[in-house]
């Protein structure tokens, strides 16, 4: 070190545009807390990376999440109160769980978070959302329930619950112009959330442009592709080789997998540390990231309606390709005949003619021309 102990390289480090950020996590929508639990599984980045400031240039993060909070009860809720009263300038709201329709709960409530000191009654989760959303830098929906309603918004539900954009309105923007950011999944894939959150931190720090999301608030780099496009069983589909029972290694589309049409990256990313997933490990895709989940996919274990047509169309093509590949496989599954332990050259090499060339013989109709694309 030089210059009075200041390292030379420190000039690479810039202070973030905002120095501190509070994350107010509304756990008590109608949720199972599965998304909070899920983020403890993340490693890209991990929750410790975010809270302990492992990544330089980002604001210091104060996380107020019921599942992980050191404080209890009113001590924890004090942060929510302060933010709602304008005493915390920079905060992000993370909504977890479906948002109940409290117009239907009469004098009672479907979901409350904390106790109102004046009345002794629970404070409705929707009241918190009403008070916090207008002052937040961003509102983020974690999991399909918060994003679109999810399981608890299923047909026949008694609570009339919904997702963030049903509640705040499609096209809602935060006071600094951010749309609702939704990271769906039931539960959310751990890294999908922390990575999106990291993007937001970078944006708020002034290190990244506006977060790219689609019209339903999903980060495009995570949800711009289908399950099928990332599935290692898609090759079985291509060859029209479909599983008839669970436990098979083949494509699961005939026994309930919706992968070809569902926007989700899980088969590609795996579930945790690259391990697990859905169709890639034998689990049918039930479309849990989608706004139409679950009703439009149930009953889950039946073939998707569109699957009958598409799997029949691919059968002749698949049968042909499968047979052609079998032919090729038969060839490459054998060693060349010149490999042996006899005292003679059969490789084509001639000690008397060391200058001789040895081109590989390939039937010309199988060979693509080496044309530049």
């Amino acid at each position: 070190m030089s210059d009075g102990g200041v390292p030379y390289g420190r000039k690479t480090q810039k202070a973030p545009k905002i120095s501190e950020l509070h994350v107010l996590w509304l756990n008590d929508g109608m949720s199972c807390d599965g998304d909070s639990v899920s983020i403890t599984a993340a490693s890209e980045p991990s929750i410790e990376d975010i809270v302990l400031g492992a990544i330089p240039g980002l604001p210091k993060v104060h996380l107020h999440n019921r599942v992980l909070s050191y404080e209890n009860g009113d001590e924890m809720m004090a942060y929510f109160d302060k933010a709602a009263n304008g005493e915390i300038e920079n905060f992000v709201v993370v909504m977890e769980g479906s948002i109940p329709n409290e117009n239907l709960s009469g004098e009672g409530y479907w979901a409350g978070y904390g106790t109102d000191p004046a009345t002794g009654q629970p404070i409705k989760t929707t009241e918190w959302l009403d008070r916090l959303a207008p002052k937040a830098l961003a509102v983020v929906g974690i999991g399909t329930c918060a994003a679109y309603g999810g399981i608890h918004a299923m047909k026949g539900n008694p609570t009339g619950c919904m997702g963030l954009q049903d509640y705040l309105g499609l096209g809602w923007k935060s006071r600094i112009g951010l749309p609702i950011v939704n990271v769906p999944g039931c539960p959310v894939q751990p890294d999908n959330f922390t990575e999106t959150f990291l993007y937001l931190l970078r944006q708020l720090a002034g290190l990244a442009p506006m977060i790219p999301v689609d019209e339903l608030g999903r980060p495009t780099w995570l949800f711009g592709y289908t399950v099928h496009q990332g599935c290692d069983r898609a090759a079985y589909y291509e060859q029209a080789d479909f599983a008839k029972q669970y436990g098979s290694r083949k494509c699961l589309v005939k026994i309930g997998c919706w992968g070809p049409t569902i926007k989700c990256n899980v088969p590609k990313r795996g579930w945790i540390g690259g391990i697990g997933g859905c169709p890639n490990v034998g689990g049918i895709c039930i479309g849990c990231t989608m706004p139409g989940f679950p009703d439009k996919i149930m009953p889950f274990m039946d073939e998707p309606p569109g699957g009958v047509l598409s799997t029949n169309l691919i059968r002749p093509y698949g049968a042909l390709i499968r047979n052609l590949r079998r032919l090729t496989d038969r060839q490459v599954d054998k060693e060349p005949k010149w490999r042996h332990n006899r005292a003679e050259y059969t490789t084509g090499y001639d000690p008397g003619r060391p200058e001789k060339q040895h081109p590989v013989n390939v039937p010309s109709f199988f060979r693509a021309e080496n044309k530049p694309e």
């Binding site: 410790e48 409350g112 629970p122």
Partner: protein, 605 residues
């Protein structure tokens, strides 16, 4: 009016006259899953909790919206009840569906499910114990609540320092500080490793992708089991440090705070519904349930005052009663009875889950009337007819107690002796083989619930060694089928019994016209977090916290309620399937000499 007992006019422990009561509440209770509030009245003169109410403020309505759905969807849907042990629900639902469809999965499927569920217990207890409960015992918390205890911890040598590497109890407490503590962070990393193990077997955590009625979609292979085995070895090595560390920490609390055994203590009223089916015995037929239930690798049972009332799942099933009394629901006396006799011909009660109809009625919270979205499950003692408010003690203490007493389980790696459970972990990278022995404790209290949790983590690691051995044997024999085909009958009933991470779990299913006519899951927390029932019997949290002594050094003004928090968290509350403590701004209420608070319960079933 109910015959709710008034707050006694004298302290239950000291016999001295009741002091001034101060209301304190904690809403929400943090570091648990789900919404729970605990509301108390505290007698600071006698340093004890005089009264406690437990409440949950969230309703979602699973039993309502399941009606009319395809029964094959039920495990996918009920998994979403809980975000930390969703897979326990999915598994239990599959058990109930297997019974209803009359099928038995291939043995390989059962070993895969047992391995997945073992990984779930290893993960979940681990995360809860040291990232949530552990914070109540960390340096920061102990300094804020009991500076005297912290001073002693700093100079007390840890008896098992050689096993876990922390020289003093104070060092252990520092290691438990949230995020900055070394052991806290190591636990987080272990919680990921175990979730990898889980995902190998069940696809994804917490809502599995590969579980089906009839078996699993997981493809068994040498790679699959090897990937599990290498991770299991890492976890087993961690356990060899984790168990002695917790013994040192918990033993220290008894020593530093004489009388600490009274914190969270209640009568021994434990329920365990059994875990890990044995495919050699289990055919999912109700008629044989007594036998295959006893063959489970965690023995089901109801333990009252230290003795088994039963180990028979049929008795357990028939004794379940869902009571109201303080909950936001209407009674269902006028609704349809779905099951009047079980398949053995035994009568089934109207308040049994098979016959329940959930009718939500949102209303204001009133601690003298209805105050929770949680109902009051009870278990009717077949001899005395009492409706017992059984608890699960957060799961492990009940499982170990029931298993130990029964003396049936013998996997080699785990052996129940009649009064203890021996747990064997073979050699790992840097540590030799170890045998731990969980002994039936003297009390059902906060510390022993927490201690049992750590032992049960080791139990599951040992059991996983056994399950792996069996899975490898199936693989070697070429028996790799994992699924049995089935047809959904037009009319059928089923029940599933399992242990969710934090205790008893049952799913009751009725199928009519090929659709779900009735579905009622009963996870552990309704048992533990239940409010006062129609008979006035408080739920286990309420009961365990009432009369709990206060050891915290803070007075009413900066009271944190740490002893109450430890008591509540020892039950591993998980309220998607809760407790709130209420510190009502330190408002003083008058000394109660006559029945007042909580006596005006409405007459409800």
């Amino acid at each position: 009016m109910n015959d709710v007992a008034p707050i006694p006019q004298t302290s239950a422990r000291s016999g001295k006259p009741r002091g001034t009561l101060i209301e304190k509440h904690w809403d929400p209770i943090t570091r648990i899953v789900g919404n729970l509030g605990i509301f108390t009245k505290i007698d600071f003169q006698n340093r004890e909790v005089a009264e406690c109410y437990s409440t949950s403020s969230v309703f979602r309505g699973y039993s309502v919206f399941l009606k009319g759905k395809d029964p094959r969807d039920s495990h996918f849907i009920t998994s979403r009840i809980c975000g930390i042990c969703g897979d326990n629900h999915a598994t239990c639902s599959i058990y109930a569906q297997n019974m209803a469809y009359g099928i038995k999965p291939p043995p390989m499927a059962e070993w895969i499910i047992n391995l997945g569920e073992a990984a779930e217990y290893m993960f979940d207890h681990n995360l809860f114990q040291d990232n949530m409960v552990g914070v109540d015992f960390c340096e920061k918390m102990v300094k804020e609540t009991n500076p005297g205890v912290w001073a002693k911890a700093e100079t007390t040598a840890a008896p098992h320092a050689a096993d876990h590497g922390y020289k003093t109890i104070g060092d252990i407490m520092v290691a438990l500080n949230p995020f900055t503590g070394e052991f806290y962070r190591e636990t987080l990393v272990m919680s990921r490793l175990t979730r990898e193990m889980f995902s190998l077997m069940e696809g994804r955590h917490t809502h599995p992708s590969t579980l089906y009625p009839g078996g699993v979609g997981t493809v068994p292979s040498h790679q699959l089991f090897t990937e599990f085995q290498t991770r299991l070895a890492t976890y087993a090595e961690f356990m060899k440090k984790c168990v002695p560390l917790h013994n040192d920490l918990f033993d220290f609390f008894y020593e530093a705070l004489p009388g600490y055994e009274e914190v969270g203590r209640r009568r021994v009223l434990l329920g365990c519904w059994g875990a890990y089916n044995d495919p050699d015995k289990c055919d999912y037929r109700y008629e044989h349930m007594s036998d295959w239930g006893r063959a489970m690798f965690v023995t089901p049972g109801v333990v009252v005052d230290g003795k088994h009332v039963t180990t028979d799942l049929v008795d357990i099933n028939l004794g379940i009663r869902i009571l109201l009394g303080s909950s936001f629901y209407d009674g269902w006396e006028q609704q349809e009875m779905f099951v009047t006799r079980d398949p053995l011909g035994n009568p089934v009660d109207r308040h049994h889950p098979w016959n329940q109809t959930t009718i939500p009625r949102p209303q204001k919270r009133d601690f003298e009337g209805n105050y929770s979205w949680v109902m009051s499950p009870r278990w009717r003692h077949p001899q005395t007819g009492e409706h017992l408010a059984l608890d699960t003690g957060g799961g492990p203490i009940a499982r170990l107690w029931s298993t130990a007493l029964a003396g049936i389980v013998d996997m080699g790696y785990v052996k129940a002796t009649g009064n203890s459970v021996k747990i064997y972990l073979p050699k790992t990278r840097t540590k030799p083989e170890v045998e731990f022995e969980w002994q039936i404790p003297k009390w059902s209290n906060a510390i022993e619930r927490d201690r049992s949790r750590t032992y049960f983590q080791a139990y599951c690691a040992a059991a996983a060694y056994y399950f792996l051995q069996r899975a490898f044997a199936e693989l070697a024999a070429g028996r790799t089928r994992t699924w049995t085909e089935f047809k959904v009958p037009d009319e059928a009933i089923g029940c599933g019994f399992h242990e969710a991470v934090r205790g008893v779990l049952s799913h009751h299913l009725v199928i009519k016209g090929g659709k779900i006519a009735n579905y009622h899951p009963y996870p552990p927390t309704p048992w533990n977090a239940s409010p006062r029932d129609v008979h006035g019997t408080p739920g286990p949290y309420e009961d365990a916290i009432q009369n709990t002594p206060i050891f915290e050094e803070n007075g009413p003004d900066n009271f944190k309620g740490i002893d109450i928090m430890r008591a509540v968290r020892s039950f591993d509350p998980c309220l998607p399937c809760g407790v709130h403590m209420y510190v009502g701004g330190g408002k003083t209420i008058k000394t109660i000499h006559s029945p007042m608070f909580g006596v005006a319960h409405q007459e409800k079933p």
